[in-house]
C-alpha cells in the first residue's frame, strides 16, 4: 500500500479500552500507512492510548459528535494532500483486515466512495432486529434517490478518494453522517461501490443507542436526506 496516498482515520470518543487495540491491528495489516485518531474531546485516556499504540492524534477542543470529528479528519487529509482516506471506527467494530479490499476497490474502480458492506450477500445476521428493519427502511428510501440499490447505507466503514474528500471537507453531515453522505455524493454524480465485509461486536463499552434515539435517528436522517434532495433540485432549476 502506498503510504503517501492513503490515510486511515479513526474517530474516537472515550474509547480508551478499544482504541489502542484498533490502532495496533490497523498498523499490522497496513504497515507504513499513517493512522490518525481524531479524539473528540474524550474525558478518558483515548488520546494517550492511541499515541502509545503508534497513531498520530488530532484532538478537538470540544465534543463535536461523529460527523464533526470525521469531517475534521477529512479536512486535515485534504490539506495534507492525501488521495485516499479510509475511516475505521475506534470501538473495534470494523475489522481492519478489510481495509486492503476497500483500498483496492477505491483505487481500481474509479468510484469516489467504497463502503464496507455487512449485507452484500443478503444476510442480516450481523444486525439486531430493530437495526435490520431500520436498514431495510433506508434501503427503500434511498433506492429511488440513488438510482441503484445500496445494501448497507448505515456502514461507517468507508473509504473515499480525493474528489469526495474535497466535497466532504466543505460539506459533511454532522450527526449520523453515513446516509446523508451518500446522498451528497450522488447529487454530484459521484459513484459508490460496496465490498463485502464482516463487522464485530464493540470491544468495550456499550452502544448508547436507545429506542428513543433510534426514532430520533430515523426522523433526523429522513429530514437530512430530503433537505439534500431539495437543495440539489433548487440548484438545478437555477442552472
Amino acid at each position: 500500500m502506498n503510504a503517501e496516498k492513503l490515510l486511515i482515520i479513526v474517530p474516537a470518543f472515550n474509547e480508551e479500552a478499544a482504541v489502542g487495540h484498533v490502532v495496533r491491528e490497523i498498523r499490522e495489516v497496513t504497515p507504513g500507512v499513517p493512522v490518525l485518531v481524531i479524539d473528540d474531546c474524550s474525558t478518558d485516556q483515548t488520546a494517550a492510548v492511541a499515541r502509545a499504540a503508534g497513531a498520530k492524534v488530532m484532538s478537538l477542543p470540544h465534543h463535536l459528535g461523529l460527523g464533526g470529528a470525521v469531517q475534521a479528519g477529512y479536512k486535515l487529509a485534504f490539506e495534507l494532500g492525501y488521495q485516499y482516506v479510509i475511516r475505521v471506527d475506534g470501538d473495534g467494530q470494523h475489522d481492519p483486515r478489510y481495509i486492503t479490499a476497500i483500498f483496492e476497490a477505491l483505487r481500481n474502480s474509479g468510484c469516489q466512495m467504497v463502503i464496507g458492506s455487512r449485507f452484500l450477500e443478503g444476510k442480516f445476521d450481523q444486525a439486531t432486529l430493530v437495526r435490520a428493519l431500520g436498514i431495510r427502511f433506508f434501503r427503500l428510501v434511498l433506492r429511488p434517490i440513488l438510482g441503484r440499490p445500496v445494501h448497507d447505507p448505515t456502514s461507517g466503514f468507508v473509504g473515499v478518494n480525493r474528489d469526495a474528500l474535497q466535497v466532504f471537507s466543505r460539506s459533511f453531515p454532522l450527526e449520523y453522517p453515513e446516509i446523508e453522505a451518500l446522498v451528497v455524493l450522488q447529487r454530484r454524480k459521484f459513484r459508490f461501490l460496496e465490498v463485502p465485509c464482516r463487522m464485530r461486536r464493540r470491544m468495550a463499552g456499550r452502544s448508547t443507542i436507545t429506542v428513543f434515539k433510534s426514532l430520533y435517528y430515523i426522523v433526523h436522517v429522513l429530514l437530512g436526506v430530503f433537505v439534500n434532495v431539495l437543495k440539489y433540485e433548487r440548484k438545478r432549476r437555477r442552472g
Binding site: I38, M58, L60, G68, A72, K75, E79
Partner: protein
C-alpha cells in the same frame, strides 16, 4: 377581555424591561434584542387598542377577540423562536468550523515542533 388586555400589557412591559436590563448588563446583544422588542411592542400596542384587536379578530375570522390576541401573541413568539433557531444554527456551524480549524492548526503545530526537535 379587559382583564386579558391588562395581563398582556403587564407581560409586554415586563418583557421590555427584561430586555432593557439584559442589554444594560450585556447578557444579550443589541442585535438579538430587536426581535424581542418588536414582539413585545406589538403585543403592548394591541393590548392597549381593544378596537384594533376586535378588527383583527374579524379579519382573521375569529369570533372571540381575546382568542385572536392570544393567537397573534403565540405567532409572534413562534417567529422570534424561529429566528433564534436560525441564529443558533449559524453559530453552531461557525463554532464547529472554528473547533476543527483549531484542532488542525494544533496538529500542524505539534508536527512542526516534533520535526524541529528531531533536527
Amino acid at each position: 377581555m379587559p382583564a386579558l388586555l391588562d395581563f398582556t400589557t403587564g407581560i409586554s412591559v415586563v418583557l421590555i424591561l427584561m430586555v432593557l436590563v439584559s442589554i444594560r448588563r450585556q447578557h444579550i446583544r443589541v442585535e438579538y434584542s430587536v426581535t424581542w422588542f418588536g414582539a413585545a411592542l406589538t403585543l403592548l400596542l394591541l393590548s392597549r387598542s381593544p378596537g384594533a384587536v376586535s378588527k383583527l379578530a374579524g379579519a382573521l375570522n375569529i369570533s372571540d377577540p381575546p382568542l385572536a390576541l392570544v393567537s397573534i401573541a403565540g405567532c409572534l413568539f413562534l417567529l422570534v423562536l424561529f429566528r433564534l433557531s436560525v441564529i443558533l444554527s449559524n453559530l453552531k456551524d461557525a463554532n464547529i468550523a472554528l473547533a476543527q480549524r483549531v484542532a488542525i492548526l494544533e496538529y500542524h503545530l505539534s508536527a512542526h515542533e516534533e520535526e524541529t526537535a528531531r533536527n
